[in-house]
Symmetry: D2
Subunit: 255 residues, 4 copies
């Protein structure tokens, strides 16, 4: 069977979804259900997963049914990120985490120096780190060499919905990696997700594309199909591109 | 329910598939099944649907289960096309047909003058004509005004797998049409199909992209998801594209 | 020397420019000068070239220095177009003309049926017809077979500035044509013009991209360089695209 | 006047060219001349600029006429790069240099950690450092903060000719930088250069696109025009993109 394996765990779905930006926990729940995701990522700094006196995500999205993946959204230094995940581990026992250390408020691009630092410390500390990163293949390689369990390069700026900007870089990262590569951030619609998967990605993580669609639940459903479509097309092996029905007349050099 | 309506008939699937270019009828059958298609199109001039002494498609792809759509592939004049469909109607009673009149052997582009002529005659003769055409919006409008029941502009040259070349034209055709618009020809992989549907197409017809994939049955499955993904994303209404997480800093003029 | 030859005339510049949409004739003059164009096209129905009591384009753009190319902008039938060019010929003796017959006011796409009709009549009448057309290769071929002296497919809708939408079609037209092929309409900026020329076009015609730039005269200058850049790059023969510096590691299938 | 200013020096040309990969120094000379470049970059480790007993570049490309920009191509660590440039300074007195520290032999991507290290040391040592880098905006900002005099992100892998892969990143780097931003590596043809300049780059550096064209001298000439075209188009301010001639009918959401 074709399954996603991360850190020894196996998942049928290759679509990972965020839990923020929804109108309420009920919409979150319905969108996640429609997406078919088995891994949901949670911004420890924003989503209430510890204070039982407030409305809690866990009351809507069952942690027994879904793999919770705590993330460090809104952390701007390695220290903040490490501290945040330690708190999460104490609160919920989570060891599989998503690290992201942002560099500025405008672009939300990852700060790769701080990311490397945090990854190193977290891995030393026993965490299994899935890591949000730039699409620089050398940085991706460094993160893998440190021991990260999944490489998660951005497709485009977080929340932009621009779709995969640099397929060449993503493809190089896929070719060089022996851990799963998941595109994280920047996907805007279902064909974007399909395209990333057709390149050979092991999965896609998204939040805004679903939460900010006009109908988030329907878009979650679309994304489920998009990821599946791209994965199957990748495995099936697409037909070669040609310029003429008549193969003896190639439209040379146009590609 | 969201269904494709053509000529008064209703279909759950928006993926239409061809029946040529497979290794054998058995592979044809399996691919069609995996695609979820309810309409299969048949080149009357090539596929045996009338001579019971030869292997027959109908023995593998049940005409009671699938809507057969006879097409005029390999016809290069209006006369040939009209004659071909009349024979098909006599043989099988089919009135819903796909008209294509090709202009040359190299590009397999539709000859729009002959196509207009044939469409007119076929409609006068009682056929319900789905019509393969260029992506020229004015030609599409003429065909609709003649009474065609579906407009089927090419995404790219037949058999090229290049994907949608001119989304602007396709989009204009969609906006102006009150009959279904289906992209026909040129799709290469699942994200191409999703993209066409996200533009607002009512359906996609393909053959080579499935038949010439390394694993046609798996690709048929991929295409099923791709079309579904694109349709749902279109209905869900995608998030707007932005250049910065911080909306106060638009990346002006870059789009 | 590398020159553009149309209807037996030879031009050093491969950039043809329109004369409309400028603030005044003085700006028109300065932009044309900066563009280096030798052929200027004039909408006979809009630009005063016959009434000496009104401000006249010829007082600013010297017909001895520039080849005036009367066009049929704002004509929506073959009859209007033919009549318009006959009037122009009587007034100014012009035989080299640009035919365009528009199909609707919204997209300004050419009506190819009326265009074919008008081309036939004008050629019979002794005109040398450069013809604005869709990018349908079969229509382009028909126009060449009728005797048109240049084929001028659109890059994108008139006035849209979207740039070349369908390089595949333009390239097929170039390969099949023995008369010059010039992209007409849709160019938005200098790289668009360069790109069209790199495909092998013989020239580019534009109006809005220059006239509606913030600084039309500077943009005219940019376009001059863009066309020249594209032409030289085409003749020079570009390097092949590769995915890796190391040629033994092709990034297969990504193109 | 519109001039490129780097480290207090002013140049009319915004095209910088490499000196490697040519058949001989004579072709190098002719291509450089045709390009109009005023800055030529030299791989200190490969091009003979110090041993008068061997053929020397300086005998063909006059260092009085051109600004020589020594670079560290073929260096894979900060130490190698620093040592190489110190030798170059001793030999030729050059203080304005181009730093590149490559990460691997396959992609020739810059190793940003080593690049940061080398930049810091070179700047402390009095060099004026133009720096080849990834298109990660945060890395670009760090390099500027260290004191680099020009930021030179790659358009695509060195020698690939793929053209600008990620205009969003390049554009963000341009917006955030107060030193010149030049695209370095990956340009394949003249329109690529024009496009980079239209985004607002201050210049473009290239080598293979010229040296490996079929006719390098003619391509050098094309590139000169391409860079000029893009610069002027950027300054002129392009027309807005529209989908319909009729502005009241926007083709919503298609961009």
């Amino acid at each position: 069977d074709d399954m996603l394996e991360v850190a020894g765990l196996r998942f049928r779905s290759r679509l990972l979804v965020g839990t923020g930006k929804y109108r309420d926990f009920e919409e979150t729940r319905r969108a996640i259900e429609a997406s078919g995701a088995e891994i949901v990522t949670v911004a420890v700094r924003r989503v209430n997963i510890t204070d039982p006196k407030q409305p809690m995500l866990v009351d809507h999205v069952d942690p027994k049914k879904y793999t919770y993946l705590p993330n460090t959204a809104f952390c701007y230094t390695a220290d903040e990120a490490v501290r945040t995940l330690r708190l999460a581990r104490e609160a919920g026992g989570w060891e599989l985490v998503k690290l992201e250390v942002l560099g500025d408020h405008k672009t939300l691009y990852p700060d790769m120096l701080e990311t490397l630092r945090a990854a190193e410390e977290l891995i030393r500390d026993g965490f299994k780190v899935m890591v949000y990163c730039s699409d620089d293949p050398l940085m991706a390689k460094r993160l893998e060499d440190l021991g990260c369990v999944a490489i998660m390069p951005l497709a485009a700026p977080i929340g932009s919905g621009l779709g995969l900007q640099n397929p060449v870089n993503i493809r190089i990262i896929i070719e060089q990696s022996s851990v799963p590569v998941l595109v994280d951030a920047g996907v805007g619609t279902a064909s974007d997700a399909a395209l990333a998967m057709e390149l050979g990605c092991d999965g896609v993580l998204m939040n805004t594309a679903i939460a900010h669609a006009k109908d988030p639940v329907m878009m979650a459903h679309a994304m489920r199909h998009g990821v599946e479509a791209g994965r199957l097309a990748y495995l099936a092996g697409r037909m070669p591109k040609k310029f003429y029905a008549d193969p003896s007349s190639p439209l040379a050099g146009l590609i």
